[in-house]
Symmetry: none
Subunit: 403 residues, 2 copies
């Protein structure tokens, strides 16, 4: 059998007025998965640990995030399409607006005007023998790769993550020469890019148009390229990823999955999720394993918007789960989340997520796909790190340990 | 209290026409254990990992198979009654039939005629200072021990596990001199035994009787003798094992349990399991811990025979569980399986197994011993590696960790 993993980002929740968004939503197709499948709850990283989307996905793909995770930077850079080599340091960037040496907007007004041209002009700088590769990402974001010998990711961010303060000086986090050297590169990159951006024609145009200038680059989340075994080597199955989120695509690229792009997907609640469902159905014709990631649920959660989250869940039910169930066969399907993001908290939490597996499974008594219903299912409580093992065992792709 | 562990090999299953064999079977005595006991499901090795019978039993006895398991060969050799010393390599063997340098039957027609005499004549060969000890095992099987200095188990099998091909040349799996040396010994053993067997009088007789010749030895699963702490040292309790399966007896011998043989036990569905039950009842008079292993359920599973598995389960219920429950007292009893072997898959899978503990336990609402009923029990989902700890804790044989 084939295997499909559907992750609705941050879908798990706590009670708001006595209900979770999943409980408040009408989800006949998710409920069909629960009713005809086996259910449980899952700690994606470890019981009680609040997972990032990055550590959660690494764990759900079968890796130990406590061992392989080196920071978000290299994952974002890979997701942006930059190819990382061993020893490269990846860093997440924002275009920001600075005035009188103080940050007035960390996202340059979320205004994309001219950012691609600015990105081109700060790409490919060489600093003390280190090559810097810069790429514009969606919105005000960018990804930076430092390539050279003797680099370290043990350095602090230049992004203070607040406004009305100056850009931070990066400092080494350990005593190594590498960390000292790398923080120096970051500080020089800040200085050089500020000089290039400050007097750039684009920023003159932005000011004339009444837009905030994009005259500084803020850096955060630096990390060395992680050493991760390829997914196919670990699980014996080649996978395809369908996601609109650079971070997730980056993780999938780093573990060697094929990334399938779908037009009109945004990672927001207005995304073309129906197109992703169709791409999933199509991908299952040629791949043994397909991973479908939907981000909108997490976005509504971070906004603290119960109704938007509920509506996004209902859209997923109708536009994703329904066509998939109606058009696939001979496939084990996992429906779950990477973590909870309660609308009441607006941040990721460690509340376990609901999980349902539909296919060649021992069915149970659960008939509704919610956090609390799934908790009563026959999977009981599982650890996310073994999810791929469970799935590929059910699909009879697993190897025997022993004899 | 005393402790009894009953393992029905491969008894766990998936749904076939909506039911598992345990669900289809009539098992009033197993159900009594469930109803009066506490129930759950168990991952014998690790969630999602498909266990061999060897790694599963190691784990259920409280050992970490990822650390102690070195291959099936030394366990089979120990089970066959060969005594292994530190540094010995144990290897599983088959008598096979070769014609024109191609394997025509990997099991010499499953015909035992004269095999004991052949085994005697290839036992005790010395090759390059390495002593080879060969013992005939049930059916067409044999066990081989290589004894010498500087041996390694990092070598490939000579058994190609298919027919119409030649015997494989063993090659080293790492760069060590030991692996190179050991693969050389294996290849010389193939050559020497082929010469002895080819013109052996027994094979002339076999051919005259229309039977396939047993003119080659195929070797697989080589492993160095594992370093395992004795069961009594680990758990503080001396154990006795009742099993008809060499592999299981081998594991028990290696950890220092006493192995009690019962007449008429075969490891097949026709085994004298009633005799094993009586031996169990008897052993509990002198041992604090008895382990009873029944193989027939796994055999029916590998044959994909739902009805045979169901009938074997009903035989176990009537001929094993009933007399045990009627004749023991003051004993905590665990009823479980080492792994699932769904009849639909015909191989071991990672589906968790049902477990019931009867004795001085907090009872729950489960009243039927099946995979799905047990999944709703109060033990929830446990890891097999801690089973002995749970059992000896209930029997008040456990030590305090801390103070």
């Amino acid at each position: 059998m084939k295997s499909l993993l559907i992750i609705c980002d941050g879908m798990g929740d706590r009670l708001t007025s006595g209900k979770t968004p999943l409980e408040a939503a009408s989800t006949p197709w998710m409920d069909k998965i629960a009713k005809e499948g086996i259910n449980g709850i899952m700690d994606s990283v470890r019981t009680g640990t609040r997972p990032g989307s990055d550590t959660a996905h690494l764990s759900l793909f079968g890796y130990n995030p406590f061992k392989v995770y080196t920071g978000r930077g290299p994952l974002e850079a890979a997701g942006a399409g930059l190819t990382l080599k061993t020893g490269d340091v990846g860093i997440r960037c924002n275009f920001a607006s600075v005035k009188d040496k103080k940050i007035v907007d960390r996202r340059a007004g979320r205004e994309e005007y001219g950012l691609q041209e600015l990105a081109n002009d700060i790409d490919g700088i060489e600093i003390d023998g280190v090559k810097t590769i810069f790429k514009k990402c969606p919105g005000h974001r960018g990804a930076l790769v430092l390539r050279g010998t003797n680099l370290s990711s043990e350095v602090t961010d230049s992004d203070p993550e607040e406004i009305n303060v100056g850009i931070r000086k990066s400092v080494p986090l350990d005593d190594s020469e590498e960390a000292k050297f790398t923080s120096g590169i970051i500080n020089k990159f800040t200085k050089i890019t500020t000089e290039i951006l400050e007097d750039h024609r684009i920023n003159e145009e932005r000011e004339k148009l009444g837009k905030l200038p994009a005259n500084a680059i803020l850096m955060r989340g630096s990390g060395i390229k992680p050493e991760i075994e390829r997914f196919e080597m670990r699980h014996g199955v080649k996978g395809a990823c369908i996601s609109a989120t650079d971070l997730i695509k980056g993780i999938c690229r780093l573990v060697g999955m094929d990334v399938i792009d779908v037009e009109g997907t945004t990672g927001h609640v207005d995304s073309n999720i129906k197109g992703k469902a169709l791409a999933t159905i199509d991908a299952l014709k040629s791949y043994e394993f397909v991973f479908l990631h939907i981000k909108g649920t997490d976005e509504a959660s971070h906004d603290g918007d119960f109704e938007a989250k509920k509506m996004m869940i209902e859209r997923i039910d109708k536009e994703v789960i329904r066509p998939i169930l109606e058009n696939i066969e001979n496939t084990n399907v996992v429906l779950t989340a990477d973590h909870s993001t309660p609308v009441s908290v607006r941040e990721h939490t460690a509340d376990p997520v609901p999980i349902a597996i539909y296919g060649d499974v021992r069915t149970d008594l659960v008939d509704k796909y919610t956090e609390r219903d799934c908790a009563r299912g026959d999977l009981n409580r599982i650890c996310g790190r073994y999810l791929m093992d469970i799935l590929f065992d059910l699909s009879n792709k697993a190897k025997l340990f022993g004899a």
